[in-house]
Symmetry: C2
Subunit: 366 residues, 2 copies
Amino acid sequence: MKSVIPVELPNQSYEIAIAPGGLDFLGTWMQGLGLGQRVLLVSNPPIFEHYGERAIASLTQAGFVVSPCLLPEGEQHKNLASIQQIYDAALAHHLERSSCMVALGGGVIGDMTGFAAATWLRGLAFVQVPTSLLAMVDASVGGKTGVNHPQGKNLIGAFHQPRLVVIDPDVLNTLPEREFRAGMAEVIKYGIIWDADLFEQLDAAPRVDQLQALSPELLQTILTRSCQAKAEVVSQDEKEAGVRALLNYGHTIGHAIESLTGYSLVNHGEAVAVGMVAAGAIALTHNLWDETANTRQTQLIEKAGLPTQIPSAVRVDDILPVLQSDKKVKDGKVRFVLPTKIGAATITSQVEMTTLRPLLQTLVAS
Amino acid sequence: MKSVIPVELPNQSYEIAIAPGGLDFLGTWMQGLGLGQRVLLVSNPPIFEHYGERAIASLTQAGFVVSPCLLPEGEQHKNLASIQQIYDAALAHHLERSSCMVALGGGVIGDMTGFAAATWLRGLAFVQVPTSLLAMVDASVGGKTGVNHPQGKNLIGAFHQPRLVVIDPDVLNTLPEREFRAGMAEVIKYGIIWDADLFEQLDAAPRVDQLQALSPELLQTILTRSCQAKAEVVSQDEKEAGVRALLNYGHTIGHAIESLTGYSLVNHGEAVAVGMVAAGAIALTHNLWDETANTRQTQLIEKAGLPTQIPSAVRVDDILPVLQSDKKVKDGKVRFVLPTKIGAATITSQVEMTTLRPLLQTLVAS
Ligand SMILES: NC(=O)c1ccc[n+]([C@@H]2O[C@H](COP(=O)([O-])OP(=O)(O)OC[C@H]3O[C@@H](n4cnc5c(N)ncnc54)[C@H](O)[C@@H]3O)[C@@H](O)[C@H]2O)c1
Ligand SMILES: NC(=O)c1ccc[n+]([C@@H]2O[C@H](COP(=O)([O-])OP(=O)(O)OC[C@H]3O[C@@H](n4cnc5c(N)ncnc54)[C@H](O)[C@@H]3O)[C@@H](O)[C@H]2O)c1
Ligand SMILES: [Zn+2]
Ligand SMILES: [Zn+2]
């Protein structure tokens, strides 16, 4: 079972290869890319513990000269200090313009490796080997890379496309369950905004709240269709001028919730889940979609073991100012992505802040 | 007297406007770019002292909301710490995706502002207002941005094109003479590798070693033709895959000399001047060009008040290993740009290190 998804971009195209056991083919699949010998393998200690040896073996066997660079685990280390660690390792390993960085990890490792690759010697090749579900279906595709500023997430970054993405679903076996569910939030997102058929398959499955409950075929479908959806959106709009904004579905309010809970109480996927429920409710009050669709969305989110209510720790009055300080704001207007039916969404700046407050209030957990 | 040079790139084109008094039109000329209101003006204290007020007045009058960000002066501050200062200022001034950074300064300010713009919110617009001759004819054109790593110059960086370059030759009046001559080294470089007519005009001028010795027309010609040369090269090869390497003429050995003298004894332009003399000598021994052309180059460099000999503080034996660690090395081969006649050059990896040593020895100052 191997799926290959081509990502076609104006300046550079690349492939996403999805295959159980794919980690062992990393080196072989990289051979066709015309890269130099030297590879910096960026990861964190727990992930490297699980998969580092296999990645290195595969790369070495294919003739690459690999050096690992291990960064401390966690979002709190997604900062310029970690980037400097990658730079130092790149220098120590004598990377040249033709060399490559490989990210072996979740979205944190992927975003940082991509940013370091974008900015070392003014741009090196890099390869994504995402190990979390979220990184597989979202972070590793699309070329957004970056780190956090002490005062805001992902404020520092660059667009830099990977040369290859290797997704081995087997590595999800060691992913904590809560991280798995967080990734499912983004999968459901694609079902709502882009791919009705994906939604239907998730809806038809007996369970989607843990890896072990999925058939290998459904898992392959989830990964393939999600990457396909993201690749299609990104190909149409690499630099986020238009349609790419659809990917922010659930993220506007989601980000506010993450930020107001200090990025600790709820994780990103959970916040996005709540954000999608909120966006669904807004769409309903604006007659953009109907009750049935809205309910189906909420039920799927629940089935995935994801929250559908704003945590009671969050005060609705605090959400609105956060929305207005979001970096996607243009000239003070908040832009929302709202679903129009299952499988399609639209972007609007027409949501009045005055109607938003009471609506959000109904979504707060009691 | 206003010259406008279009720089045509696959993804984005922009103009270089060269005009005495142009600083006062900065705001007006930026009005056509479709930018948001907020502008961060990056400079250093001495330059801001001279020109900050006029820049701000011009921007404000055109409707922009400007905040200055002053960085400490000097190459030793071209590092990530200064970039973080720009990030902090960008945050404090609430820059949005549509906002713009303006670099008012020499190449150091330009490179850093460009890099910060490339990486803040994954890429903001930026405008170059170069104030040194070197920045006018070289650093501000072409989209290379970046900072130094403690262990090497410009190792950290990105390609990011400005949206506009505004060159006001009048600001050169306050530029120290030695900095002026350093810029002339790059001007002479364009004469050798690209524009024989520029070389002839410089050759025909009574003096080229200080600003005051140039007629306004010759100065305009120098700026226009140099930018034109760089723009042509860059347009043909934005990401430095081929012809752009020509711009490294004089820089291979120049960089080694800079590095071996600790970036203090000789400045960049002086090192490039010596590097061009060395490359000319290598070209001569390889029968790529003739004695006459070689002598004309050396004489013009001398006339510009630039050095033509390797400083005696540098040991030739130290140069070779530095060449081999240069980031332009591919698979261990040093690539040289060598002139084939006045106005044209070629790139070669055929120079034997064994022949290089005795040749460089003859160029050491006694
Ligand atoms: N670039 C993009 O387009 C994009 C999109 C979405 C999210 N992101 C970024 O991605 C990050 C979130 O990604 P994430 O959820 O993968 O977080 P993460 O990288 O922190 O991974 C989550 C946790 O799971 C662990 N982990 C990952 N894979 C594992 C495995 N196979 N086995 C055991 N443990 C494993 C990690 O060590 C970490 O502790 C955020 O920083 C976010 O900003 C980027
Ligand atoms: N991006 C590129 O393509 C490119 C090309 C060449 C050089 N560079 C970079 O440019 C830098 C060198 O540029 P530079 O020579 O302009 O150095 P610089 O920016 O340090 O300026 C030289 C000195 O002149 C001062 N100065 C500049 N303009 C002045 C003015 N009008 N009046 C009074 N003082 C003035 C500066 O404050 C500084 O002290 C290096 O860091 C180099 O790496 C970049
Ligand atoms: Zn997300
Ligand atoms: Zn130079």
